[in-house]
Amino acid sequence: MHWRHKDLLEISQLTPEEITHVFTTAARFVEVNQRPVKKVPVLKGKSVVLFFSEPSTRTKTSFDIAGKRLSADTFSLAKSGSALQKGESLNDTALTLEAMSPDAIVIRHEHSGAARFLAERLQCSIINAGDGWHAHPTQALLDGFTLYQIWGSFTGKTICILGDIAHSRVARSDVELLTMLGAKVRVCAPRTLLPPAVLTWPVEVFNDVSQGCKDVDAIICLRLQLERQQAGLLPDLREYAAIWGLAPRHVAQAACDVKIMHPGPINRGLEIASELADSHASLILDQVNAGVAVRMTLLHLYLTRSRVLA
């Protein structure tokens, strides 16, 4: 498949065929990742800047490993210790980075639209590794790939996304991807953590965890940012854990082979009962594993697209 995109900003840029292409390619990289020597030379000589202005462990490491396994050179730029902290504007940082001729910039930024901001200004490929509350397309692709490896198809599947939907870029991207692939999606949260106009989303909305989980094939738990309580959106964390945290009694309502997912990092005992995170139903570590393969796929597709064109 000729990859027509310069940038990966949000899932809605992609077609279902393109998403499936990512999945089938990622399956080949899963095999690479099981070899004793996990390195292939496809991106030798390419440079990838990892520009993370928000704290991140797994996404950044995942991209770093993905790049290195493809023999690309990866360079990290964090907000602390960079010129951004000295008041340099995002525009100036972007132009400075581009002057060093990277082939791609992977950006994580606290502002929605930041990846698009770079994409509109720079020639190199921009991969969105999470912008504000807006989008986290590589997380959605790895979530989808994790389920695709088990299910093969999303037809007839129902997935419940549980937790802080309002402030979640993962939720937005997961909803786009899963509905595009034919799954039914539910969101379940207290009203204060539902986005405005959620009824315009292609989802079913639940305000009760047991009902939200009833008969579903997968549950995606979201991390609760502790500042939501400070912002007055929640009474206290104890109540959140007791009423909204995913517990075995909720999972008992779901399909018998239900899968439990979480983008991490998890707050054990808050949004998810600890034993569920470690249960056989949990795909949390499979997601991390799939993440490397999906990001290898994406770097490969976006960094070799001109060669494919020629």
Partner: protein, 427 residues
């Protein structure tokens, strides 16, 4: 034969064609076209519409303090070209216009740059430093030349203090202009709360943050029987509250801006910072409600809320961008767009952009009658021009019109009988 200082031949006014005869800074009369007169200067008004020189009751001129965004001279240049003979400059300068020395500074700067107008009409702060803690000296501000009082941009949260501000300002004949926003509802919001903010992952500002304050101000105005003027109304629910209040005879007046009449929240979809403005662009339904409100008089006047910013300040992510649209250069062309769309007529422009504004804030205006000040503009309502950075006279190029073709241009601007700007040939 009578001699005049200025005669404009064959200009359109209320669908008739007239000659405008001007002497000693005043209109002598609107004579039948083709009158034979002698004049020091004559202008050909063929194909042009005459309108009163416009009054903008809501601008930010940024001087003193933020001259890199705009200064009084550049702001007045934009006003002159945009058709505005008087602009009411908000108090959120640095230092804040909460004392006579800042007011006088603004007036002096304006008179130095444009001794024959356009005129700066300063708006004094309602509270010291706009901090919402203690009242600013409205008496001193009135004596120095302020024409109204406002805490624009930083709404007063204490209803008690706001009440006292309305009462105290009334003793000096000053109206309070209120920026209606509950600053806690939608705190940190950057666009209209709704389906689009939800999709873009941007924090929303709900309409109720405006309507709650509109309701508060109306209740206070009714209780105190004192006037209040509501700034930049943006949504249907506010329009409904104002309509009810006016039916009951509450002394409330209100304004909106061309951008709320033309653009809606869908303009934000690509994180376009030039449409980040507070209150935010709302829905299509709100746009339609506002259009009806300006036609029917529920909303009394139009203003620009001219809020110039430097280019680098808007060249950031949407969440990091400052609020505001630069408006003086484009307001008339955008209003002409509403005329072409059949939403307004030229008499509405005169009413919304001059006469009602003059009534509300006790300012001079020209109603084209004998003895009126000769403050008028000749407009080619369909002349196309490109809003390039050079064509926009304000330092603030922060408008979605930048680079776009607009139709409607001021050809000549006359203030006090004097031609302060003209793109026409004189004879």
């Amino acid at each position: 034969m009578a001699h005049f200082d200025l005669v404009v031949h064959n200009v359109s006014w209320q669908d008739e064609v007239y000659d405008i005869l001007v002497r000693d800074g005043r209109i002598v009369e609107l004579a039948q076209a083709g009158s034979s007169t002698q004049a020091s200067r004559t202008l050909d008004g063929e194909g042009l519409v005459v309108l009163p020189s416009l009054i903008d009751a809501h601008v930010h001129l940024r001087e003193p303090g933020q001259e890199y965004k705009e200064d009084i001279a550049s702001g007045l240049t934009a006003a002159a070209h945009g058709g505005f003979g008087q602009v009411m400059a908000m108090a959120n300068t640095s230092p804040v216009n909460d004392n006579a020395s800042v007011t006088r500074f603004m007036l002096d700067k304006g008179a130095q740059a444009f001794p024959y107008g356009p005129w700066v009409r300063p708006v004094g702060a309602l509270t010291m430093g706009l901090l919402g803690q203690e009242l600013a000296p409205a008496g001193e501000l009135a004596q120095a030349g302020c024409v109204a009082i406002s805490n624009d941009g930083l709404p007063v949260t204490s209803t008690e203090l706001f009440r006292r501000g309305m009462e105290y300002a009334a003793d000096f004949g000053l109206k309070v202009i209120d920026h209606c926003e509950d600053p806690w509802l939608g705190h940190g919001g950057v666009m209209n709360e709704g389906a689009i903010s939800s999709r873009l992952g941007l924090k929303g500002i709900p309409t109720v943050s405006e309507t709650i304050q509109v309701a508060r101000d109306i209740l206070l105005a009714a209780y105190l029987d004192l006037p209040v003027h509501l700034a930049h109304i943006s949504c249907r629910e506010s329009v409904e509250l104002i309509a009810q209040a006016k039916e009951k005879g509450v002394p409330v007046t209100a304004e909106t801006c061309p951008h709320y009449l033309l653009w809606d929240e869908t303009w934000v979809v690509e994180y376009n910072t030039s449409v980040r403005v507070n209150p935010p662009l709302r829905t299509r339904d709100d746009v339609l409600a506002l259009r009806q409100a300006v036609r029917t008089g529920v909303i009394d006047i139009l203003v620009t809320d001219h809020a110039p910013h430097a280019a680098h300040e808007k060249n950031v992510t949407f969440a990091a961008a400052p609020n505001g649209i630069s408006g003086l250069d484009t307001a008339l062309a955008l209003t002409c767009e509403l005329v072409r769309a059949g939403e307004l007529d030229f008499m509405d422009i005169a009413r919304l952009w001059a006469w009602n504004t003059a009534d509300i804030f006790s300012l001079p205006t020209c109603k084209m009658g004998t003895g009126d000040p000769a403050d008028f503009i000749l407009v080619d309502p369909d002349l196309a021009w490109i809003a390039t950075a050079d064509a926009l006279k304000s330092k603030g190029k922060n408008t979605p019109c930048l680079g776009q073709e607009l139709s409607g241009r001021v050809m000549t601007h006359v203030l006090g009988g004097r031609v302060i700007l003209s793109h026409q040939d004189f004879s």
